[in-house]
């Protein structure tokens, strides 16, 4: 999940180098590590740092990619804060995030607990199969789910019809479209989260569970008093990563409303912040305004990351 940087530390030398040619060899040895890590930093500079900094620059312009670029200061930002479409997208994003994160983490917690059970047969098979949605193409997921949830020809509405429920328009209604997207996100990510929890749970000695069972703790009590506390750090971690992920939900809303993809429907009922950014940048070609939205997203993610840092620090302090 988080980028792991592998530091290449040269092994300590057995014997000090001979005094002759010391400067030349010393210089080479001191430069070599930089050469090893240079490819990453060069690529990061080109595809990461430069575009990042450039976004802040473009956000200060009325930037027409095939016309004029006019410096307008913070006008894009004042416009953004007064733009109901921006706040609508922010609300949608939070709503979809909530609807996807809560079921996803709860489901993963329960599943991890079950998969960790000592007497589970074919444990490896089940542990692997929860990961299948994660390796499925997100575009394919979106298309299949959109068909399942279709108003007139979808299987879900057909089933609802069997029990006498009127068809629900999952794309054109605000609540329905959020549920649809949240379902896709949950389906795609619960397995990944489950495995994270499971890995963490396996560090808890089985003896703890056995001792609790001998002391008379039932399954719920073992779950409540052993599983959850031992998972606390990784729960915080998954909340934060899924929050950051939730801020960037893009493909699902883009693909479900095929008639108005960039707004996710006629009244932007499921347009997320990233989709709004994309609409402004690459639908309207208002690069400056789109960049301003990107900067705002960045600010939100920084705030969430900071909260995470503080929380993680407190958990460490608790121990």
């Amino acid at each position: 999940m988080s980028g792991v940087v592998v530091a290449l530390v040269p092994a300590p030398r057995a014997a000090p180098p001979a005094p002759v040619r010391r400067t030349a060899r010393g210089l080479g040895e001191r430069l070599a590590p930089y050469a090893y890590i240079a490819p990453f930093f060069v690529l990061f500079g080109i595809f990461g740092l430069f575009p990042f900094a450039f976004t802040f620059y473009v956000a200060l312009f009325d930037w027409n990619p095939i016309g004029d670029q006019v410096f307008i200061g913070v006008d894009n930002f004042t416009r953004m804060f007064a733009d109901p479409r921006f706040w609508n997208a922010a609300r949608n994003t939070v709503s979809i995030w909530f609807l996807s994160t809560v079921p996803q983490l709860s489901l993963a917690l329960v599943l991890a607990h079950v998969l960790n059970h000592a007497r589970l047969r074919f444990a490896l098979f089940f542990r692997m199969s929860v990961l299948v949605p994660y390796v499925t193409s997100v575009a394919a997921t979106a298309i299949v789910f959109a068909q399942l949830f279709d108003r007139d020809y979808g299987m879900l509405n057909w089933l609802l019809g069997l029990v006498g429920v009127a068809p629900v328009d999952f794309v054109q209604s605000t609540a329905g479209s959020h549920v649809l997207i949240a379902t896709m996100v949950t389906w795609r990510w619960f397995g990944y989260t489950t495995l994270l929890y499971l890995a963490s749970l396996q560090a808890v000695p089985l003896a703890v569970y056995e001792a609790a069972a001998i002391d008379g703790a039932g399954p719920w009590q073992r779950f409540r008093h052993i599983t959850i506390p031992s998972l606390r750090p990784v729960i915080i971690f998954t909340v934060v990563t899924s929050t950051i992920g939730g801020l960037q939900i893009f493909t699902e809303p883009l693909l479900i409303a095929t008639g108005a993809p960039l707004t996710c429907g006629a009244v932007r009922q499921c347009q997320t912040l990233t989709l709004f950014l994309y609409e402004q940048g690459f639908g309207e070609f208002e690069f400056g305004y789109g960049s301003a939205v990107g900067v705002a997203l960045f600010a939100m993610v920084v705030v969430i990351a900071a909260v995470n840092y503080l929380l993680a620090g407190r958990i460490r302090a608790d121990r």
């Binding site: 999940m1 988080s2 980028g3 595809f47 990461g48 575009p51 990042f52 976004t55 473009v58 027409n64 990619p65 095939i66 016309g67 416009r79 479409r85 997100v138 575009a139 298309i143 068909q147 279709d150 108003r151 007139d152 020809y153 328009d169 054109q172 209604s173 795609r188 990510w189 990563t241 950051i244 992920g245 801020l247 960037q248 493909t251 883009l254 693909l255 095929t258 008639g259 108005a260 707004t263 429907g265 006629a266 009244v267 990233t274 950014l277 994309y278 940048g281 690459f282 639908g283 309207e284 690069f287 789109g290 960049s291 939205v293 990107g294 997203l297 960045f298 993610v301 920084v302 990351a305």
Partner: protein
């Protein structure tokens, strides 16, 4: 948004922005997306290489452009045309914008009419076709169509390829089941006006309990608003969309149709719209000439069950495209030779006989090949005559840089009433407010 062809649900490129890995990712989204679309920029290399006679051509998908390219190649075997079918008309315009901003441009590109004004505003990106001889042939085209690709200092940026015209396609079998006349002349007589059209819809609904029309937004509002003498801008190019009574009347018709309970609530070109078309979920749909190809390919099993009637409300046009040559094109002369030959009146007439897109060159409208053409898929309806008639007496209006955005917001407002339970009483005010937000005026 409105292409001469189907909109496809999946945009070919920007679909893989994955769940984030670190907090570094989101801020790179803008530029990441930038890089993405640059990477998406179709077809580089090959084609229009060195000999100055071959060229590279970007067109829309699903409009069968290959037929024309092959015909051209047949006549000029030494000319290689590298055709790239970029995607929908909107996606083609987006790819072109990205390419113009700093990528490899094609020698020839097809631009849909709704996307054209934004390019006409920036004429420096295109070859002024007068330098290649556009003045000699300009007079061949419908005046109001030609005008749209002429920039402020008279630069000619694109040559018209086709126009849509307007008509209603309807299912004769479903009409018969509802006790409505099936003959095109009799069906046309049912709806001299849009109000009569909506009344017919109610009759159909009463008789069958099923939806009459695919949707109100496109099949009523978008047609009616293109039958006006002045649309979103006045002749002096001032924005008047919010106080033009003709726009308001078209909008009210759309809302009336949306609330009359006669539509299937299927937005044009969506997946379910296509399914509904094939399954007879609705009996009528607004159909400009290019739509016939869409119906034919979406619902091949309904051959012979359709007919074409006149559009209610008078003359108008929906759709049509232009061919343009970007300034940095490597083979502008080869591209111009193609335009000159294929978009000549005779070239367009041949194109009509191949795919049915209505020529933008009025001199061929009386030609027998067009005037007496009948389409067997549509019960031998006299398509050539119906579409050319729908252009007679058309009152041209100015289409400005924000016309497409304004039209889309109006459509959205009606769709909201039709499909999402929006309040019809506030729909107009909501639409106007959304337009003001979108165009910053």
């Amino acid at each position: 948004m409105w292409s001469s062809g189907r909109e496809f649900p999946i945009s070919a490129c920007p679909k893989t922005l994955e769940k984030p890995v670190t907090f570094r990712v989101p801020l790179l989204l803008v530029v990441g997306a930038l890089a993405l679309s640059a990477a998406c920029t179709p077809g580089t290399g090959g084609g229009g290489g060195g000999d100055g006679r071959s060229f590279e051509f970007w067109s829309f998908a699903a409009i069968n452009q290959k037929v024309s390219v092959d015909a051209y190649h047949g006549k000029h075997p030494d000319v290689q045309v590298k055709l790239t079918e970029v995607g929908t008309s909107t996606e083609t315009a987006q790819a072109l914008t990205t390419a113009l901003a700093g990528g490899k441009v094609p020698d020839l590109v097809l631009i849909q009419g709704d996307n054209l004004p934004k390019f006409v505003q920036q004429p420096q990106n295109f070859v002024d076709l007068r330098t290649l001889g556009a003045d000699d042939v300009k007079g061949d085209y419908l005046d109001w169509v030609m005008k749209q690709s002429i920039a402020k200092d008279g630069e000619v940026l694109g040559m018209p390829t086709d126009v849509g015209g307007m008509a209603i396609a309807y299912r004769t079998d479903l009409f018969a089941a509802a006790g409505l006349p099936t003959d095109p002349a009799a069906a046309s007589a049912l709806w001299p006006s849009w109000d009569a059209f909506i009344e017919t819809g109610k009759r159909y609904k009463q008789a069958t309990g099923k939806a009459f029309l695919d949707n109100a937004a496109t099949s009523v509002f978008y047609q009616a608003v293109n039958q006006v003498s002045e649309k979103y801008y006045d002749d002096a190019r001032n924005l008047v969309y919010d106080r033009n009574p003709q726009v308001r009347a078209a909008f009210d018709l759309g809302v009336k149709a949306a609330t009359a309970g006669i539509t299937a609530g299927q937005s044009s070109f969506e997946t379910a719209w296509s399914a509904g078309l094939a399954q007879g979920q609705y009996a009528a749909v607004a159909a400009p000439s290019w739509m016939l190809n869409t119906i034919r390919s979406t619902a091949p099993d309904t051959k012979g069950k359709w007919a074409i009637a006149k559009i209610p409300g008078g003359a108008g046009n929906w759709g049509g495209s232009y061919l343009a040559i970007p300034k940095r094109a490597k083979n502008p002369q080869a591209a111009w030779d193609y335009i000159k030959e294929m978009q000549s009146p005779q070239g367009q007439l041949e194109h009509f006989t191949r795919v049915g897109a209505l020529p933008s060159t009025p001199s061929v409208y009386q030609d027998d090949k067009l005037a007496s053409s009948k389409d067997p898929f549509f019960s031998d309806a006299p398509t050539g005559k119906i579409y050319t008639d729908s252009l007679l007496g058309l009152k041209p209006f100015y289409i400005g840089p924000d016309s497409a955005t304004i039209g889309q917001e109006f459509l959205n407002a009606i769709t909201n009433v039709e499909q999402s339970g929006g309040d019809p009483a506030t729909a107009w005010d909501d639409a106007v407010r959304n337009i003001k937000t979108a165009i910053g005026g």
